[in-house]
Symmetry: C2
Subunit: 487 residues, 2 copies
């Protein structure tokens, strides 16, 4: 009996062929010199299907979460990788095959796994308390041992939050270390309910607020400022009837406005106000902050649907090069609640995976890092439908001047999400290092590049070579040893 | 500080760039169908340097042993790889650098490791008793846990054999499961002493015999028949003075004859007789057997030195295509002890890594498997000095007819050592499956191919795909679950 992954775009090539190994490599090869300021762990997670999909047309986002840790010490870098042993993965390994159907549709799963957690824990991994938490927005976090990466189990904060969804993009309050999070579709599949949580630095729930979105759209990320929470709701919507009939979890609705929900952190949610923007695609939040009565929210934006695997009801979706991409600032004037948000372009080119210095989350800030793509490449034939492999630029944007510096890996290279590491406990905002995995598409090899923010254009100060290829990943973070205090 | 392997031929490319990972992949992808008869583990070991060499011009044979296990069950194949945690590797990991100098020369090591075992355990791995034994001919075996591959430690058979050398090619007596082994340079570096051991199936030493070779040459492998032991001594010789001065352990002596030492198993070694053959290179034994007063010994043979890293004293060594290669049968007539051995050519083409059905070791037999190379490729520019990457044929030779069947992976492919697995407990000799790793040199990928001996030419009945590249390895074996009784 053959055991093979499908030869579709989501499962082949230097970026998307599954890797699936778990293990370690001590002392990775290093070209250049790893800055001695880097003492800690770069952790990140990739969807990496452990078994070939049970149903055809499976998508990248449906892969099992595999966590990678790069441990930095004294100029040396050790590599470690392990699957999150979710209930789903344990069931698949016991059966030696996939038992789950299409993305986030339990009605297409094998009856053997009915009722069990279906989380893939594949979207982000953060350090919180004594654990790592592997996150997928449709389920509870999964706690991991931070040293061995062994899975501890589904993490409901000691019973404080039931077993509902939990965002893959929680925020840490840089003042007090509290964890700010939310879940959407929070009263069941395709429900419009959103629940907002605040936990103190040791995980005690301090606030839980329920609101209702205008439609059951995807809410992949959010923003929290000292006084406000902002939920960006995408016009990629869930429909229970369709899902029960075996259809896609999300479909794009080109006729719907994009919606921002803004509510006070201290209230009961009844003050939430929904503000509209023209139909567009925005998933990731770079940062948000308040100035007087204004709230500013910065997000990469595309003029239409970038997820062809969640097309419109008629099956259509635009080609990537047919859309306009930019980094957008949305400004909401709380003194004029009836006004639509003001839109400003911060960076007028394709960009994604935006990151700020985590010490300024929710605060006025100056520096962004993100992935970009040179326009020549963007217009080329490589720019077909996803899965994408065109992020060949690391970009650092100075929001105070609008000036962008970048380093280009080459045309046949693709970066994975960058992570910023401060130069030290008292470093100025945005002064430090950028870490990013870089896939070489022709040789099918992967490196971890380290750039100094003081000179992006010169390229990496150190290139950490891997003896194995890593699949495209989603999100991750830097965990300092010991954690840096706030500046 | 850069941490990089040298860009010399021994450390680059799809076959020789170090891999260094430890870990596992569950349920490897399978093209075709894995025969259900394959229930067990294919174990093998590769030299794979954990740290860049301390000194320049390091050689492939000096790498740390990394054991790979392919576990077959119900048509599924799991992959597992782990370093043998030798004293040497533990010291390197503690120091985060290599502390050992050139191959088998302790006088070039860092003083920090003086007196400690320097075994790399990198040449072969076998199952014996409750353990796996990782073997390197200059040191004791290292015992491993057969399930986890964790290292237990240096293995002196409960103190029965001191801490001397132990061949990487011991034989199992197919009648009683006893382990037959030897060590050379057995009374110290460059000594001419050879010690022969027999252990019963549970590891109790039943015999220890000491003999002296005519010169201190390499004795990589040997042969045991029901009544005799044969030591093939290569004219690659060790010299203590040279080694103490920091020179190579071995140098080729083109003026020396090749020597075969033949002794009775039951004696005290005083009956050993040394028989000469013209200077040539022969390292691996395919098999040996007795017919009346004759002993037949089958070995791949080259007309000169194939190890340029062990050149003549003047530094010279032939290019690979300047030599003649074949599979040779040496026949020794015990009734005419003065006669030189009779030489017969069994296969007149380049071949190496010969294997027989292990159930006929030391007995008359019919089938050989080995790696070959098509002559067009052999004459091409790829045939430079080692490390070699030209084994692009799997060959099965019927010694009763002289007919060879082969399967060719292609010009840009290189096999690693093949292993034979009987079709079942009562299968005829040589009837079963051939397992071999296959490296694709252009894509830098590795597969495990499985061929049925009943139709070699059709190619693999199953191809097991690996998501990572494996470095060139040395030797391994099949461990059935449960072990097959003798036919």
């Amino acid at each position: 009996m053959a055991i093979l992954f499908p030869a579709t775009a989501e499962f082949i090539g230097a970026l998307y062929a599954p890797c699936r190994f778990e293990g370690s490599v001590n002392d990775l090869e290093v070209e250049g010199t790893v800055p001695t300021e880097l003492e800690g762990t770069f952790i990140q997670v990739a969807p990496d299907p452990a078994y070939p999909p049970m149903l055809a047309n499976d998508i990248f986002f449906n892969g099992d979460g595999a966590v990678t840790a790069f441990r930095f010490s004294g100029g040396h870098v050790d590599f470690q990788r392990r699957y999150v042993e979710t209930d789903r993965l344990k069931a698949h390994r016991a059966a030696r095959r996939s038992l789950h159907g299409i993305y986030r549709n339990p009605f297409t799963d094998d009856p053997a796994v009915a009722g069990a957690s279906a989380t893939t824990a594949n979207t982000n991994v953060i350090a919180f308390g004594d654990h790592l938490l592997a996150l997928k927005e449709d389920s509870l976090p999964v706690a991991l041992d931070p040293v061995t990466l062994e899975t501890i189990g589904n993490w409901d904060f000691a019973g404080q939050i039931g077993d509902g969804p939990f965002t893959a993009h929680p925020k840490r309050d840089p003042e007090d270390g509290s964890l700010l999070a939310f879940g959407y579709e929070a009263r069941g599949i395709a429900s419009r309910d959103i629940v907002y949580y605040e936990f103190d630095a040791i995980g005690c729930k301090r606030r839980e607020t329920w609101v209702e979105a205008p439609y059951a759209g995807m809410v992949h990320d959010f923003a929290v400022t000292p006084n406000f929470v902002i939920f960006p709701v995408l016009p990629a919507t869930a429909d229970l009837e369709r899902i029960m009939a075996g259809g896609r979890h999300f479909e794009w609705q080109a006729e719907l406005d994009f919606q921002f929900g803004i509510m006070r952190r201290g209230g009961d949610g009844s003050d939430i106000r929904w503000l509209k923007a023209p139909n567009c695609f925005q998933a990731h939040v770079l940062n948000a902050f308040e100035t007087g009565d204004l709230i500013h929210l910065d997000m990469p934006s595309a003029s239409g649907n970038v997820f062809p695997f969640f097309p419109e009801a008629n099956g259509s979706s635009p080609l990537a090069h047919e859309l306009h991409y930019e980094l957008t600032r949305w400004t909401f004037d709380l003194a004029n609640p009836g006004e639509p948000p003001l839109r400003t372009t911060l960076y007028d080119a394709p960009c994604e995976f935006p990151r700020c210095d985590e010490r300024v989350v929710g605060r006025p800030y100056r520096h962004a890092i993100m992935l970009g793509c040179n326009m020549r490449l963007f217009a080329s034939e490589r720019m077909g439908p996803p899965p994408w492999q065109f992020f060949n630029q690391l970009v650092r944007l100075d929001l105070s001047t609008g000036l962008a510096e970048s380093w280009c890996g080459g045309d046949a290279e693709c970066f994975q999400e960058p992570t910023f590491v401060p130069r030290g406990p008292s470093a100025a905002e945005g002064d430090g290092f950028i870490l990013a995995l870089l896939n070489h598409l022709e040789s099918a090899t992967t490196e971890l590049v380290i750039l100094d923010t003081r000179d992006i254009a010169q390229g990496p100060v150190a290139t950490v070579r891997l003896p194995l290829r890593l699949r495209m990943s989603l999100h991750g973070s830097w965990v300092a040893t010991p954690p840096f205090p706030k500046p």
